[in-house]
């Protein structure tokens, strides 16, 4: 009887513990920040993907959940309405270079940037590039097959559709960039004349 009670208590504790902890965490986080500019407290509420991807590295992943989440992200990708994937690479270069947008000190009336150079090498003439992501110099060598266009678009729209819990932002799904900006970034990556695919002057 005693053992049964203990087991029941343990099961109940395990059962409710994660919820209690995350509720406490959520309330601590909410209490530690205040709205400023366009950055409101609503931004601190996690969606299921953010929640899943907040585990410290090395912790065992819940594989069925991961599989389901990744498939959901893939199913939710929105492709260009006119079927045209490639915009203007020069405009794309400007989007890639701009780090502006969505910070509380940014003017919301000015278009967001993609800040691609923060993490990726792109045009070889730009030496101030980050290394959190892989180098994308000469990305255009991958060609413009339908598969490549759809893959690259998906990667920009929602990186988690292929690589769950990647560090990269969901530029399309989170509306950081609009459809035209994404097309321009696509051209920046894939157009053979783009500075990404030309040697540095």
């Amino acid at each position: 009887m005693k053992t049964t009670l203990c087991t029941m208590a343990l099961v109940m504790w395990i059962g409710i513990a994660p919820g209690v902890v995350s509720e406490e965490l959520a309330s601590v986080i909410q209490a530690s920040f205040s709205d400023k500019g366009q950055a409101t407290l609503l931004r601190l509420e996690q969606d299921p993907l953010q929640q899943h991807c907040s585990q410290p590295r090395g912790q065992p992943a819940d594989k069925p959940t991961a599989m389901t989440l990744r498939q959901q992200r893939l199913d939710a990708v929105v492709f260009p309405t006119d079927g045209d994937f490639l915009g203007d690479w020069r405009r794309g270069a400007a989007v890639a270079a701009s780090g502006r947008g969505l910070q509380f000190n940014d003017d919301p009336s000015i278009a967001n940037g993609g800040n691609c150079y923060a993490c990726h090498q792109l045009a070889p003439s730009e030496v101030a590039y980050g290394t959190l992501g892989p180098s994308l110099t000469d990305y255009g060598l991958r060609g413009q097959s339908d598969a490549m266009l759809r893959y690259t678009w998906t990667k920009l729209w929602d990186t988690h559709a292929f690589n769950l819990c990647s560090h990269m932002p969901r530029f399309g799904a989170q509306k950081i960039l609009d459809e035209q900006q994404l097309k321009d970034v696509m051209a920046f990556l894939l157009d053979p004349n783009s500075s990404v695919n030309q040697p540095a002057e």
């Binding site: 920040f33 931004r43 980050g130």
Partner: protein, 276 residues
């Protein structure tokens, strides 16, 4: 506290620093990269403009202020009332008088309130200076107290349950992804040898890198001409994470400083640092 000879030395240093600055401006190319700042650091040697802020902080400590007209000399930073030497290095820690884990800034605030009778809200309105300002009193005090721990071993206690809970909370927040860009602290700070643009990023989950990072704040930021504290650094990280504004003295701030300090425990305090 201030003596004539000190002022003479200060002037001499000021002249030296200005001369070297001019030299830096002559030799460096116009475009900014980490190379310039390395050259600046080499030229500066052991000199750091933060020394002026350190002096200022010490003056504030001994200055009678507030409704009670008291100094901060009776402030207990964890090693006993008035003990400043080595105190910064053992923070954050649990304080029985408040039943809370506190970092340097929240503890100073508590002392200003209780000893000097000052209004917390007034100080919390503008704890950190903005670009183009002079530094704030709080920044100066924190810089001086960090300098009082230069060379000390980073040793935040993890004995009291609230201290351990604070570390656990800090770890959870470190990995918490949120906002339109899905950024957490870990996005930039859980891998070694990575950069944003040309800025090297410390891996704060690694003991050595956490020591270099945590132990070198507060720091004089060359790009801003100001001394910045770790509390400010966290606030600015969250701005870049596209989160709302981190409230000064909040639990998230204390938790993240605890997380970093404990990861850096055993390392040596080198603050005040000199940074880009």
């Amino acid at each position: 506290m201030r003596r004539q000879s000190d002022d003479a030395i200060t002037w001499q240093l000021l002249v030296t620093i200005i001369t070297r600055w001019c030299l830096v401006l002559l030799v460096v190319p116009a475009w900014a990269d980490e190379g310039i700042f390395d050259q600046y650091r080499d030229l500066m040697g052991d000199d750091n403009p933060a020394i002026f802020v350190i002096d200022e902080g010490e003056e504030f400590w001994y200055q009678s202020q507030g409704a009670r007209g008291a100094t901060l000399e009776a402030c207990d930073l964890g090693l006993g009332a008035g003990v400043t030497r080595g105190a910064y290095a053992q923070l954050p820690r649990y304080f029985a008088d408040t039943d809370r884990v506190m970092d340097i800034e929240t503890r100073l605030m508590y002392c200003m309130e209780t000893l000097q009778g000052r209004d917390r809200a007034v100080i919390a309105t503008k704890p950190y200076s903005v670009r183009g300002d002079f530094g704030t009193e709080l920044e100066a005090l924190v810089t001086w107290l960090a300098a009082e721990s230069e060379g000390a071993t980073i040793a935040p206690e993890q004995v009291h349950p609230k201290e351990r809970a604070m570390y656990a909370l800090g770890e959870e927040i470190f990995f918490y992804r949120a906002g339109p860009h899905d950024f957490s602290c870990a996005t930039c700070h859980e891998q070694s040898n990575k950069r944003i643009r040309l800025q090297q990023l410390p891996n704060l989950t690694d003991h050595t890198e956490a020591t270099d990072a945590y132990g070198s704040w507060p720091a004089y930021r060359m790009s801003e001409g100001l001394v910045r504290t770790m509390g400010w650094r966290l606030q600015d990280c969250f701005r870049q994470q596209r989160w709302p504004e981190l409230t000064f003295g909040s639990e998230v701030g204390v938790a993240l400083q605890t997380y970093m300090a404990v990861n850096a425990a055993g390392g040596i305090m080198t603050a005040p640092g000199l940074k880009r």
